[in-house]
Symmetry: D2
Subunit: 345 residues, 4 copies
């Protein structure tokens, strides 16, 4: 398989290169960037020096589509919406890491993203690539809308509860925490080291553009799901997302039943690991890997279930899941080239 990566100088692009460098069935054919054409990748990323000998090329959708089997668009929202229809028109299979093709409703997109939505035909064709739940859709898709980082951790954690209707569907609260790589590679005051180091920040309270993506997908699991509370925090670490989620159980519950439900739900999903009762994952325990680790609690005093879900935002929350989707699209085992261990410590 020949691969092109557009947006190779962002963190998502760099991580795709790290993964695909070792993928047994894929070869990186070309990498593209809207700036820095003609420069070798290691001028942006010295860590690849002598190991990856690729030069950044400009973005010619038709040429890219003709030469490669699949294109990863690691481009920002607002860019993907313009670029991807051109790639698709030229026949390319595309996996888009932006938010541009995730939301089916134009108005919803525009009100949360504050940008014009993309071509509605392409939006309609896009399948949502939360691989554990929608692999069947991905298999035949020309365009995969790769899930956002927060939605991935959130949805994998909540799906068993929502699907089985064992919680009050209006009671969901998601307290999300992210490492700072989630803010992207561009320098900004919020991610300036002296401002962020040894600090904990909260941002976009009730305003994060991943909220409608979460609600849309929870709605597929159970149409009765109500709006969620969703708060995002920046933690002084590079990678990792943890979502701590709360919901009211609809009946008397116990931790054994809860644990069994999750173990069974994800029995055939290599990348979802359920911690033993009483144990909870830290973000470091998935760092650099494609795993989503989940811990569970039930509180008899309040009748609430707590679900803790962690991923590496750059991997399962972006590039890792994108490659997992590529594997599915091309009929490979979903773990191909992705079954490596987290880096610890």
């Amino acid at each position: 398989m020949k691969i092109s990566i557009i947006g190779a100088t962002g963190y998502g692009g760099a991580e795709l290169i790290r993964i695909l460098h070792q993928h047994p069935e894929a070869t990186i054919h070309s990498i593209h960037s809207s700036s820095q054409q003609g420069k070798p990748l290691h001028t942006s990323y010295p860590h690849v020096q002598d190991a990856v000998n690729l030069e950044l090329e400009d973005i010619d959708p038709v040429k890219i589509a003709n030469e490669t089997d699949v294109v990863f668009a690691a481009t920002p929202s607002g860019v993907s919406s313009k670029l991807i229809p051109q790639l698709m028109d030229a026949g390319a299979k595309v996996i888009d890491l932006s938010g541009d093709f995730r939301l089916k409703n134009t108005e919803t997109y525009e009100s949360w993203y504050k940008k014009p939505a993309g071509d509605q035909k392409r939006v309609a064709e896009a399948v949502y690539g939360l691989t554990e739940w929608f692999a069947d859709d991905v298999k035949d898709a020309q365009l995969v809308a790769n899930p956002g980082c927060y939605p991935t951790a959130t949805l994998l954690g909540l799906a068993p509860l929502v699907k089985n209707g064992i919680i009050d569907l209006d009671s969901i609260i998601i307290d999300a925490k992210s490492g700072v790589s989630g803010a992207g590679r561009g320098a900004s005051p919020i991610a300036h080291f002296p401002e962020m180091n040894d600090n904990l920040k909260v941002y976009k309270v009730n305003e994060h553009q991943h909220i409608p993506e979460i609600e849309q997908t929870l709605g597929r699991f159970n149409a009765l799901t109500g709006p969620v509370s969703f708060t995002t925090h920046l933690v002084p670490m590079t990678r990792g997302i943890m979502t701590t989620m709360y919901a009211k159980a609809t009946e008397d519950f116990d931790i054994d039943k809860l644990h069994d439900l999750y173990k069974e739900t994800y029995a055939n999903n290599y990348f979802v690991r359920i911690r033993e009762k009483g144990l909870f994952p830290g973000t470091r325990e998935v760092c650099g890997s494609n795993f989503c680790d989940i811990g569970l609690a039930y509180c008899e005093r309040t009748g609430r279930i707590t679900v803790v879900s962690v991923i590496d935002n750059v991997m399962k929350g972006a590039a890792g899941q994108a490659v997992q989707n590529m594997n599915v699209q091309f009929g490979l085992d979903e773990t191909t080239g992705l079954d490596f261990l987290p880096i610890y410590p």
Copy 2:
């Protein structure tokens, strides 16, 4: 005022020394430790070399009580319960930083702390030193039970809602995050740098001993308050607590009303600062200071209020509030020796 500090080699003790070193009305008369007697403080804490010339002494409650005006017990739970009655019998005024005299109910204490409770007469006499709310109690108290770090951030954040009954009192969820200094000075696997750096951990889900302290005090604000969900996280930073709190509004609300309520409630409290609408505090913004900063949101989609409250766990969450209580006990302005700015960045 002559001061003794027991437990001076822990972080709470060291911070008391930092504050009292500059306090215009107080002098540190003696510092005490159950180990290291006879050694100068700077063998434990090189940062005080040449500036603080005190030697650690052993713990002789009667002698301490006789020589000083107020004793800070920066001793762990289980130690304070034994030590403080002796100090009080000898006539000392005591401010206890442990959890031993906070919970009025013996059974509650023993079931959450897994230790025998202290002398119930002394427990009954103890006043809970959340200064902004109970300064009148503190004024005349022989024993102040200084609040825990998490309860301080939580209660200052929730009090206006609970007291005024404008939330569903069974809907309170507290997602709490702490810097690692909260784990104390003793080396432990959980706080080992390579395990904690660049990591985010969740611990004691529904099991933290601060839960009954929060519930007992919320019950004083409003007897109808139900049990709370309370989850604690360790963030890779040294100081700081953030509690992100969620509750259902009982009626249609708006952010202006919410903001005014908080501004009015804390109008006369120097150490509580309400952020402007749409702004939220980071933990760094109170670092090294006695402030509690609060940000507010109301979500029309879910009808929920979000309150974000930050403190420095070693200051307002321990030593700072203890000195604030001392000020009140001795008729000083509560800000005396405490009105310095956070260290930033």
Copy 3:
């Protein structure tokens, strides 16, 4: 004393405000910035909300000079050189935190700073404010060139060796490490959190503009001092500088003699603390304070002396030493308003 601070939105300016907020003899009369005029300081620095009620004003040198007793210029190199002569012409006493008035030689300035040098009359008048060594100069100066952060740690550490000629004056190697606040408040790729966190970088090898400042001052201690090797590193921490310095002893030495030399040299300098033999300071041990802590070693195998010197770059390396100089200029004890303890941990 009435104070003006120009460049109040940088880290040096913010730290001056933190210190002067508590200084018993000084009042901040006005703060100035080339942008953001008319905005309250807390829009830039939320940590001062409700505690510092000052508005940023524009920079009118004559007005500032007329209204205040001393002006702190916390402005960048290239800005100070233009601004300060105007302030001085209008009669102001000025303490400049930039590098613009430190180097006596125009060519040297221009070749290291790559900028035109300032008015040579004012350069000639400026006294170099390494307070421990040049307090007598500072006393009568209209313009104090406050030392750079690296030079402060370096010079306090090397002075006893160089002055007494007990090292080979051509053998000095300075390996310097700094926290990232040294890079200033402006967001930049080098200080972007995901790039800097959990990383250690080296920069400006043999090229740092503090090299000629160090050499000029070592030359005052001993005219025979040769050029130094000086390497700077960025450490993933906010504050702190450590310089590890190596020099060949000219004769057989021992650690006792070395230790005595330093203890005697700095016997009357409150802010310089010599660690006991075998002990070395960490940067955290001076964090938030004006101390410079020094550890010493002599190696019989190599005949080399190692000196480790740490400061808080924002304090003793900038704002703290500036206030120390102000104290000297106004006949106060140099520790006035500065004798607080480091914040630890």
Copy 4:
């Protein structure tokens, strides 16, 4: 190839498992620990849950030797010296990650390690596994003494200078900085998060046990090499070593010649990468990989060369180089199973 790992619960052991999990020619046959026998590895390391299904076994040298092709001893100094002769007597090929078989001179070992040296016959047989320089020795060795982390970074950086005698061989100064994982997995006050975070420490000045290892090997490159100055620092990051090294050039030099020398020296060594002129590596640029990246400078003012060398201490400084040595021992390409990219950011 069947592999046993002894000391699998330390960081070196865990990293061996991470690498070998993916190695195309090796299978982990068994893992061993002096405690925790019978427990699955994921009770120590949750990050391997469901992916590595190995149980910790006790240490039976004969059984281990009989069942496997090569044994990695990731055991501490003092343990390896006792264990390894037993493994060798039973016929095992061993790669030792401790310092016990690196120093050829008994007295030197005992004076720096403060422990009795191991069996001198086995010490004599051991070959020093700095792969880039001694692969020929490794090929036929029964026992490989895998280099220490600091020596690896140091020796790869200095070898071209020392071997070619283009520096004053008495002028070498090594200023070394390490991430905290180098301190091992055991909790200790020095590595306690609140003590180490946002801090920079210096330790073992002139006393580190890696000094004789460095000097012994430099002596192999050039017998005239004198004693070195070597200082170690702990940096608040998890992984990574940087050594900044200084030496006096014996003749007029230039950066081009220097750069060419290094490029040529390491032309055939995949894992050593020389940065372009004027560029220097940060530790993050090798994180999680087996690379050693080197930057170079020559200063005309001082006549000194500066070499900056970075590695991941857990990889090239321990487990990675151990596997590289295993590859050589078994006739594989040295990069087999090791040619993955650093994780960035």
